[in-house]
Symmetry: D2
Subunit: 453 residues, 4 copies
């Protein structure tokens, strides 16, 4: 009996701070003797670890989630006005684009009602000077490409075609008259542009192999051939067609206006990626264009390449945005989705995925940041941009793939906001030069040997 | 002058076997002096290499393409009648399924008209004995799962739900009366089955955590809860619902017949993978089932697990089929698509992708082959099947990804028969146990430690 | 007060099965109120999980570790006498080779005292018929190559040079007299052979580019040139030198005997892999060989290639062995090494590594198993063997890398039996044809296009 | 006959610019009719490609190789004096360290004669202010860590132990007297320091689990326990020992002087990585230390962690250096090594490896650049540093592995300057926190959940 009382006293000592009611509830759910047995087999370090875990998970739970800018490139590195613009664009995308984008993607249609709102942001032709354009830095433009792709890569692509490829061709290679005619309206999205380079048998970066022809007859040019994958072309007001002059074999650019009877545009069907982007298959049959609608300073493919170099950095940033959007969705999902009674973000295997995603994302961000700095410093070369395209499109594939994976089955439902990124990453991977072509561009630069054929 | 004649004589010597007309044509296209200059700078080995290349590519061009069974597992390892069945099923899929499948996938609809034709193949319930079933080997069944998924993973999944999960539950866990009632009709696809295990908050392999409840009242059971992702459920005649008996907390199985008023099935929308598979979100509200429709030999989750173990090998084989279909499409594409004037299959970077695909594909095939042998020998364990699921779903992801990559932009168009595999591989990756869950099943077996929580 | 007694009664009810002494010990180590608080916040599923974990880890702890033959290829698939031989060879390696091998590796010396013991196993020239050779299957030979490399890849390489390359050249391409003279002694390791193909500027699989020359003068041949990387050459009794006949430009083979004054052999220094293998740099300066020591049936490089095809399967098996050795060491290490008070094998991140290793290992095993079957069926082609070499050397790199990783810092100490495999895997990766060369061999076979240059 | 003359005229037209002698030489080496036949089968694009290839490879061959700073971080981003210091350190390493380092590595010995020369560079304690230290930026320090590791990771580690861990502990946690006593001499390498944290059973980043004890007795402390892996410890003048105070259970630091009889140091043998680094196994047996040699401001493990946070960025930079050294060696090798008569750098498969290496290298550089900026801005957190450690040590493994691969067999010979990097990368991968531990540090920060146990 004294034994029993001493036991009671021990019990009192042991449990005076324990919430007895909770313990009683608990005893219905777990096998207490077994728990004690198990715990007794642990050593001090293990028990400390366990206590620390309970403590730290409690303490940390209140922390706000750290978003996908782990190294504070936006907050710290941008000037105030740039940071403000970045946040304004982000807010617009979250509010106006995100809620509608999955349904448009599914239907493979374009949300035309968004165009005037995008125009209001006044970010089109961001880096150009004059013609109503803001004249901001390439770094800023890159960051905004990331912001757009973070919510939807299709919208970002639509924007890139208009602001970069189409306006850029005119800005870099047009005459003063041509710039005056087109750029102000395009900057405000009153005029929509497209960029017709790729052909059914000639990929987007295949220099010089174009088969579309241009033949000069008097003051006119006659264009013949086909263009494939031309973004925005189904509804564009002006489409820049790149064709080989039959006379001097050089590639020249032509501003083909909507309604030109020699140009037939068919919408490409059945894509599994970037389904919002309206890609046209363009057939040119004796398509007549006035000499004054030829880009006056585009004399050879080298000039076309200038446009591509300028925009390729943007594609790298788009990849970053795509990865960031997927990562952030996955992070939020895993912090709330439970398995075995715990948020899945508390499992090692899930954390491992998240950290791999974040490290790739952060590396891409710092890489593109430097790329845009090089561009702003006038040091950008083709191979710099190609390297970023290769690295970012590869790493993005890895990020979106893990984002989908941590979501299990739900990852294949569009509503969870990762499936779309998984599909779209495949398009980014291949457009504006496949991984292979861009690798060989870098490879030639570093080795001094061309290995294309 | 003598010099000139000796030159002429030399020319004659040099060119007497050359086709002069061809040379003349050629001289218009290439800069001959430069070619001679370049060739002269090569040494003997290089020139031999060049000659060998020209020779071998000529010689090899006639060879028939080697299909995706590089180690002759089908041809060599199957008995004659099995090989014949394999080829019959393949022919059916090529002829009847392949031409329609992309459009159904795009519309997210099921090709009901194919069901009677699939029935005619007489391969449903392939390994079961009696009840109209053929009683063939597990190896044969695995090979056929590969054949089906090679053309379409959705069709293969539809088949697997019917033949494996639904019929398998009844075959393994039903009473003799239940088997007599259901199996013959199901074997002929006159009755369609579904398998209701997964729940909105409980993934497909999460043992024991089921929240759907069953309460016995007299001779009836009252089911309440939700099931998600249930394949075929939108049109099934009978759906096996797994629920936890409120009395003894054990998981039991119930045959719920079409039209039961307590069961509401909603078609899941907006999937980016396996879009042909009709997944149901099932809500059970006081759903009444007769005791005689309870699976009579399903006493706990361990019995459910028997069904899953039997079918998991099939999922591994499906992954193989998905990879094989993508590889074969990619191989054919690269042998005909040209860049820089040559089939892209003649470039090192493309061959590297093809060989990586083929090596993974072949490894998967030999692994699954052995897995099915273990099954036929009665040696199969959960961890064997889980290992195959993990390996094959990971490697398949890699294969389909490369298949898409070598197709460039065309890889995102459904018509090129790879985009669909890319998307579907994501579903395979996560269903019947995610990579993480299956890894932890194997991990527990090899280390002796459970690491699920 | 009644409250206090009811609490005591509750306490008694709660704890009557608990070991009170253990609990008291425990209360000194953990913060009991906090534990109760934490546990109370868990729901039923989480608690079940926790209980299950404790239970299962207890139960499973007693299980014997499953060794690196997860799919029972050895146990099940080998005939009894083959299985016995496999186990005999394994026992020899564990007992005689394993204890000494790290020190020899470190000193870059060869354990000559092991040679008579290896001879006693009577496994040299395993597949050959006659000349004292056992005439067993290629599958058996492959399994033994795995067993040897599982303990040490250098020893396995030494054996492969003797049994495969050197004896194989004579067996396949020698005259009857030559076979009689050499094979019986070599089978018993009384005569050691080497195989001199690779040259300083010509890699191991570079067909036909050999620069070593042979010139016939009367009944003799004069050899000139250099050979690099020639395994066993520093102590071989006979070295087969492959050289190009200056007359007909064909590659021929010569048996150069130890002591020939025209042959100088220098030991290659400073390797970071396969340090036990003694590689010779051979310089041939007007080295005279009798016509009767020319391999009588080696007429061109095609004949040399026959030897390489036969042995390449063995290299794939060696890779499997290397991976298996590393995996098994890692598995054992992680089951005993503790962190945070638990064996590290009980952490998800470590299990993930182990399962990745095991799945790759098992895939390699089933692939090579089939490869050897093809060889035994007479169906083996170069591309079959090359595919296996590519797959296995790549996957092995991944396996050994993870094996080292799970060992943390200890993984770089030789005593833990993984560091050596990490280094040796690099040699396997590149010898008998790099990944690139073997990929292009397969690539040519499947595409019909040669892409070597 | 007229036909013949017209042919001759054609021949003249065709070949008037061709160097006939070269053509004649060529005709002996290649089968001209076949070449013409082959070329005739090509189309215009293919021929253009071929011509372009010949042109571009000619033109590009003269280009200087682009070194491993593809995005000009050193040239453009450093201030002049920093750039000058970077180049001075690089020159020293190239001239004094590179020529001797392979032999020391092989012998596992330390090049003591280099110490005074390193001292002369005046870069030790680079970021500290006062005590003879230069007070430069963390960015500069990171760049120099990269420069050192680019030539040898062991030397870089030796330096990091002295400048970062040992001096850093005193600088951050010592009293003013302690700083005065030690730092000036250490800055000039007159006093060598070591940092004793890791224990046989407790890895480098395992907070708080230390088992080495300290017991205060009067004005002395008695230390007992073991330390493993302690760099420089075999010859250090002062070793900082971290031990748990038996009284308050907090971790404290002690400056143990050379010759202390209670401290026994044994050199660790048989490492396969960082063989130049002399790691000590320290046994403390009633080791007495004066209270005045206790680090006066080290009150708990949190203080130790401050030192680790400061130095972890340096480890990330070391990984970058290791990758850069391997890449540059591989680039140079592939530009000169020939196969099939061409530099191997001109093959697609090799270029692909080089570009993968360079893209990873460049991403690491930009990531670490930003990391050091965060450090200089006072924003660095543990998780920032851990992310960089994880990313860089993983990517470095990939880079060195490819560097070795492109070298084929020669890649395993130390003389080609890549094998050492391959081995050393494994040490970097695991020291100062394994990938797993650092991932869980980041994981806790981003998810709010601790998953260590």
């Amino acid at each position: 009996m004294p034994n029993f009382f001493s036991s009671l006293k021990n019990a009192y000592q042991l449990f005076r701070h324990v919430d007895f009611q909770k313990l009683e509830q608990l005893s219905k759910k777990v096998d207490l003797p077994k728990v004690v047995e198990s715990f007794s087999n642990m050593d001090q370090t293990q028990l400390s670890g366990l206590m620390k875990m309970m403590g730290s998970s409690h303490k940390k739970k209140e922390l706000p989630p750290i978003e996908g800018d782990f190294y504070h490139l936006g907050e710290e590195a941008l000037k105030d006005e740039d940071r403000a613009l970045q946040l304004k664009v982000r807010a617009f995308l979250e509010k106006e684009v995100k809620p509608v984008v999955n349904q448009y993607w599914l239907k493979a249609e374009f949300p035309f009602e968004l165009i005037p709102k995008i125009a209001e942001l006044n970010i089109c032709g961001l880096t150009y000077k004059g013609y109503g354009c803001p004249g901001r830095s390439n770094l800023m433009e890159g960051m905004l490409a990331m912001e757009m792709a973070r919510v939807d890569t299709s919208i970002s692509t639509f924007f890139g075609v208009q602001s970069g490829l189409a306006m850029g061709s005119i800005y870099l290679l047009g005459s003063e008259e041509q710039k005056q005619e087109w750029l102000p309206g395009m900057q405000q999205f009153k005029i929509i542009g497209a960029f017709g380079l790729t052909e059914p048998e000639v990929g987007s970066a295949a220099a010089g192999g174009l088969t579309t022809t241009a033949k000069r007859v008097g003051n006119k040019w006659i264009l013949n051939g086909q263009k494939k994958w031309i973004g925005n072309a189904t509804f564009s007001d002006v489409t820049i067609i790149w064709a080989r002059d039959l006379e001097d074999s050089q590639v020249k650019g032509f501003l083909v206006r909507k309604g030109n009877k020699g140009m037939h545009v068919e919408k490409m069907q059945d894509k599994m990626a970037l389904r919002i982007v309206q890609n046209g298959l363009i057939t040119l049959t004796n398509c007549e264009v006035e000499e004054q609608d030829r880009l006056q300073h585009a004399d050879s493919f080298k000039d076309t390449a200038k446009v591509l170099r300028m925009t390729r950095a943007g594609v790298a940033w788009q990849a970053v945005g795509c990865a960031r959007g997927a990562y952030e969705s996955a992070l939020n999902y895993t912090r709330t989705r439970k398995q075995f009674g715990k948020p899945i973000a508390s499992f090692q295997l899930i954390q491992n995925h998240l950290v791999e995603m974040l490290s790739n994302l952060t590396a891409m961000q710092t890489l593109c940041f430097r790329l845009s700095q090089l561009q702003d410093q006038g040091l950008l070369t083709d191979e710099h941009a190609s390297l970023a395209k290769v690295f970012c499109s590869m790493r993005t594939r890895d990020v979106v793939s893990r984002a989908r994976e941590v979501m299990g089955g739900n990852g294949i439902l569009l509503e969870y906001d990762v499936a779309r990124f998984v599909a779209d990453a495949e398009a980014i991977y291949s457009y504006e030069g496949t991984k292979e072509i861009n690798s060989l561009i870098v490879g030639r630069a570093i080795t001094g040997f061309s290995a294309f054929v």
